[in-house]
């Protein structure tokens, strides 16, 4: 097991390097020269310079900034290695990701390290809550539909699930905002908390819950469709197994058959889905955060994309890829844990 995980981690590492290098190349397609912009700005702030002096000063600063950003070479591989931090820049310093230098956000006027934690915290909180909510609803619903397959209730849920997974997230969000905020006035349309008020303790939690309720409901609703379908399908497969027939023939109570025999068999594909889905939710909540004005990773990413804040985007991208790769690994391991027939070290 340990060996397998190590092997997978090594493989993951290779993929991460390939992907980040590809992304790095794509970013370098964008015609932007940060050293030039910075040098230009700094020269502008200096007063009492003759044109010759300012030109000389600019050239000096330009070189300095190029060295600082590691862009004094056109070799993309060298630039990439400098960005990662395994190759020194022209001054012989190692300043890259490995040294903890994640870059500088021009939009927030702060180091990326300081920009990311707050949104990440929010995103993780929202996602954990919505995952719990969605699982709490979909698993019982899926089981119920599978057990009562073909009944009126099953068909009704079936229609809803197909609608649920055919609609894009933002559409459902618009619909909910219209219904709950505009017509019923139950929830605020956007924001994280009541502005200009400092609350503590219980009141703080209540305020947060008031603002996060609608995004959570929307996110949960969006995931209901595909999850319910999946649980139902794997449960139906499990219920048609021979062991279920045997159990029933032996006179085991139906409840025990469903929850002990069938559900454990159905769990295998469900576990895959749950983990994969939990990880994909980091990118799924991108839309929700954007729509409800929540200060999360997705919102940060879209703002950065709009303002071309590339240091932040690079880090976020690496984060998303890492999450996805980790997810694959966890799925494989979880497979082995849930299903004794699968031996992961093979």
């Amino acid at each position: 097991m340990g060996k397998y995980i190590l092997k997978r981690l090594g493989y993951m590492f290779v993929v991460l390097i390939i992907l980040s290098f590809l992304l790095f190349l794509i970013y370098n397609l964008v015609p932007s020269n940060r050293a030039y912009t910075d040098a230009n700005e700094q020269v502008k702030t200096m007063k009492h310079l003759t044109p010759e002096e300012s030109k000389a000063k600019f050239n000096e600063l330009y070189k300095e900034y190029q060295i600082k950003y590691g862009t004094d070479t056109n070799n993309k591989l060298v630039r990439y290695l400098r960005w990662v931090g395994v190759m020194p820049n022209a001054r012989g310093d190692y300043i890259g990701l490995l040294q903890g230098n994640f870059g500088y956000s021009y939009q927030e006027k702060d180091d990326v390290v300081n920009v990311i934690p707050a949104p990440m915290k929010n995103t993780v909180i929202i996602n954990i809550f919505s995952t719990i909510l969605a699982l709490g609803i979909t698993i019982p619903l899926g089981i119920l539909c599978a057990v009562k397959k073909g009944s009126r209730g099953d068909k009704f849920v079936g229609v809803f699930t197909i609608i649920g997974y055919s609609l894009p997230v933002f559409l459902i969000a618009i619909l909910f905002i219209w219904l709950f905020c505009s017509k019923l006035h139950w929830f605020p349309p956007s924001g994280m908390k009541t502005l200009g008020v400092n609350l503590e303790g219980w009141a703080y939690i209540k305020d947060r819950a008031y603002y996060l309720a609608l995004p959570l409901i929307t996110m949960t609703f969006c995931s209901l469709g595909s999850m319910t379908r999946y649980v139902r399908a794997s449960m139906i497969d499990a219920l048609s197994l021979d062991c279920i027939k045997t159990a029933r023939a032996k006179g085991v109570r139906e409840k025990v058959v469903i929850f002990s025999h069938a559900f454990r068999n159905a769990l295998i594909p469900i576990v895959t889905l749950v983990i994969g889905w939990f990880l994909s939710i980091f990118s799924g909540s991108l839309m929700i955060e954007q729509m409800f004005g929540l200060n999360g990773m997705g919102d940060l990413m879209i703002t950065s994309l709009r303002t071309s804040d590339f240091d932040v985007i690079m880090i976020l991208q690496v984060f998303y890829v890492t999450i996805a790769l980790l997810g694959n690994l966890i799925i494989d391991i979880a497979y082995g844990l849930v299903d004794p027939r699968v031996r992961v070290n093979k």
Binding site: S166, L171, L305
Partner: protein, 662 residues
Amino acid sequence: MSKMNNKETSSKKRGLFATLGRWFKRLFFGSSRELEDFDPVSAAERARQADVEEIVSPAMQVFRGFVAHKGAMFAICVVIAMFILVFVGPLFMPNYDDAYKETTQKNIRPGLSMMSIPDDIANDIKSVDSYGSFSVGLSNSGKVAVWGDTKLGTTGIDVADIPEAVQNANILYLAAGYDHIIAIDDEGHVYGWGNDRLGQYGYFDETAYPNILSMPEDIANGATVNVDDIKELECGYQASCILMKDGSKIIWGNKNSYSNLDTISLNPTPIIDIDFTLNFVVCIQEDANSIFTGQRGMYTKVRGDLDEDTVSMFEFIGNRKIVSLSAAQKDVAFLLDDGTVGFSGDYSLNEVSMGDFEDGEKVVDISSGHHHHIIRTNLGNVYSCGDNTWGQLNVPRKAESADHILSTGFQNYAVDENGKIITKWGLKGYIFGTNGDGQDIFQRIINGGKMTMTIGAVAVIISSIIGIIVGCISGYFGGAVDIFLMRVTEIFSAIPFLPFALILSAIMGSLPWSENAKIFLIMCILGVLTWTGLARLVRGQVLVAREAEYVTAAKAMGVKESKIAFKHILPNVISVILVTLTLDFAGCMLTESSLSYLGFGVTPPRPTWGNMLNGANNFTIISNFWWQWLFPAIFLAITTICINVVGDTLRDVMDPKGNSER
């Protein structure tokens, strides 16, 4: 078997399309008939077989199973209808233009009432006026009616609520601006209703409101004007003017919408005629033979018809005199005392010219809408020129017998000498309303659907080409090739889809490429990010098919490996591929609309169902202008739901295990 092989080789000569066609034929009708061609069974034999049991191909079985699902059949009909609608529909909209914008038609509610003049005044009409979403009509007996979209945006004001005083009074003059209405009764009282926040009517203190040229205080407070002296009442965007017979005028309104309001107001020279374009007040001064705006160089170039070259105003007029003028939004038409008409101002290229007059034909009167002019001559002929987006220029035959024609905004009403409306033509309204740029949502849905579906289809084609090739090669050859290709597939499937697509299109979007290249790029991005599922599926199917007997037979006959993979195995797994393609198509459409919604896909003014919803990302629009997001959303939702239903049903009926259980 050898005959089968002959068939294969002969089909090779017939080319790719014949082969593809045969696959499809086999998929839906089975290959039994092909066999019949060269292995004929006697008729009696066939009849005997039919007696025993009807043998159908798997594809036929699938087809029958599919037909048995009523919901799925309905869904496929809807999908086909949607396809026809978005690909054929634009052909019926020759006047549609992506970049069309109309300031006066913003955020109009769905409805077709913009030309529905109420019956009680239609037989006794005196004047009709319209500037924005609604029209006002005045009957000879002094009655006022308002029709069209009368609720004004987010203000909550309904101009159809005519003040009681106006209803009781005998109104003589009536005019409508963008969001206000001005009326003058027979005693000289001036009434105003509608929006009054920007100086449209009422008294505003000059120091407190520097951008408003106020209505005179006494008139606003109920003082009367001498009705007998009034020549005309005109309303512009958010301004109004009462012109007196002696050439003086009372003018007021929002200076932000009309920058030369002050200049005109302070100019003491008597004027003959006054009108409002979208941004300027234009008038004819008694002594100067030109169009006066208070600004140099405006309306100095004139043409006799829209397709003629411009000459200077001085040269064009010579020793004739301007009698009256009639302003559209960007241009002004004016009438000279010898019955000639001249046009001055900006014209877009797609505007239609008036055509030639008969000999000795003289223009009697001009009436103008927002972008068109209707010209009536002494012979009773009606000419029209300008923009024909809403059919404003399609003058019906009946209009030739009219006494005069009332043109306002985008509508025209031909009136006979008794004040009865003979016929009307122009814009009826917008069936799905308009958006914040004044664009017709219905037309944009049809044209945007074309873009959305094209992007989805091309993306799916790209992804299926990659997926099928990778899957076939990987599954058939196995070994190192398989391992390598599956690693590549894993890398691609590890990419988090939406963030990655966002980043790619944002970065590519900042490159200096043409609009079409960017759209193609979006298709490629979607295609390249979605092929992994299909590749895995095809690989799995090929792995199974590889062991089948017909493949062994083909191998034994010495058929080339690549040919076995693509020509023998692929046709047998094409049904599975079709299902995935269907579901992927819906998926790609959704992703495209998500990207466009966030502003990283196709950008306006080019419409797609996604970026039409982009306008709906703020709360004001969501809660007030429901039609702007609801209609595109419905179209997008129905299409994707139906495609998914079709895909699901196909998958269900293709799975024999699922079938037996049902």
